[in-house]
Amino acid sequence: MRITRLAALVGLIVCTLGLAAAERPEPKTHTVTIEGLRFQPERLTVARGDTVVWVNKDLVPHTATSEDGVFDSKTIQPEKSWRFTAGKKGEFAYICTFHPTMTAMLQVE
């Protein structure tokens, strides 16, 4: 009787872990290309834990700076990149602080 209970408990734990694993897939890496003074894509949806890489393909420096202060790349020189792992859910509007015409949105689910 005890063994059965134990087996059931172990089964339950394995099952729960399995479900947890299914809910949290492997983190992905997404790329936002900065080119022609635009963030491409302008709107990106990622899962919590995913990494976003901003790659500056322009001839001039840029930043990727969220308006609410959640992330700020500081200066990304031409041909350089900056990585950010999304830890907080929400919609984050961001800009290039040098070029206020450059705006985009990162959504973390």
Binding site: G36, L37, L59, V60, F98, H99, P100, T101, M102
Partner: protein, 176 residues
């Protein structure tokens, strides 16, 4: 009456820094010279404005012009070196340089809000005229594909600068 004529003439001078970029039949070496000169003119104005401007926003914009146009010029001179093209002086680049110097000399006589306004007005006119020159003369005339691609690549920076300068123009004229 005389004063207004002088003011109008001075405004005209500021608004026409690159009005003469319309020469047809420019070759790649001449285009390289026009691009480098046009950028250098704006770097020189930006250096002056970065220290002389009153508004912090205008100072920030001026520093951005120095950084961005230096970046564009580096790409242009690197490409010219790679293609073994020696930038060739021509009437358009000469008048760009002369007009840029005149405009800068006039800016240096101004101060305070008057300086900020004149500098931003100049930047709006300058970027609009460079975009027109890129579209009507420089991009269509470039024969080397890499040079043409570079001109296409730099165009959005001029468009963003123009938009940025127009926003500042709206705020600086409100302050005046």
């Amino acid at each position: 009456m005389k004063v207004s004529a002088i003011v109008l003439a001075a405004a005209g001078l500021l608004l026409l820094p690159v009005a003469s970029v319309s020469a047809e039949g420019v070759n790649d070496a001449q285009i390289a010279s026009i691009v480098v000169t046009a950028n250098q003119v704006d770097i020189d104005a930006g250096r002056v404005a970065a220290t002389r401007a009153t508004s912090e926003e205008v100072k920030t914009f001026a520093r951005l012009m120095v950084t961005d146009h230096t970046g564009v010029n580096k790409a242009a001179t690197d490409l010219a070196a790679k293609l073994k093209v020696i930038p060739q002086n021509n009437p358009t680049s000469q008048s760009l340089k002369a007009d840029g110097e005149k405009s800068l000399a006039h800016l240096k006589t101004l101060s305070g809000h008057e300086f900020d306004k004149a500098y931003i007005d100049r930047e709006v006119a300058y970027h609009q005229q460079v975009i027109d020159a890129l579209d009507k003369t420089l991009i269509p005339s470039a024969t080397n594909e890499e040079l043409k691609a570079l001109l296409v690549k730099v165009r959005p920076a001029f468009v963003a600068h123009l938009e940025h300068a127009k926003r500042l123009q709206a705020t600086t004229s409100q302050k005046g």
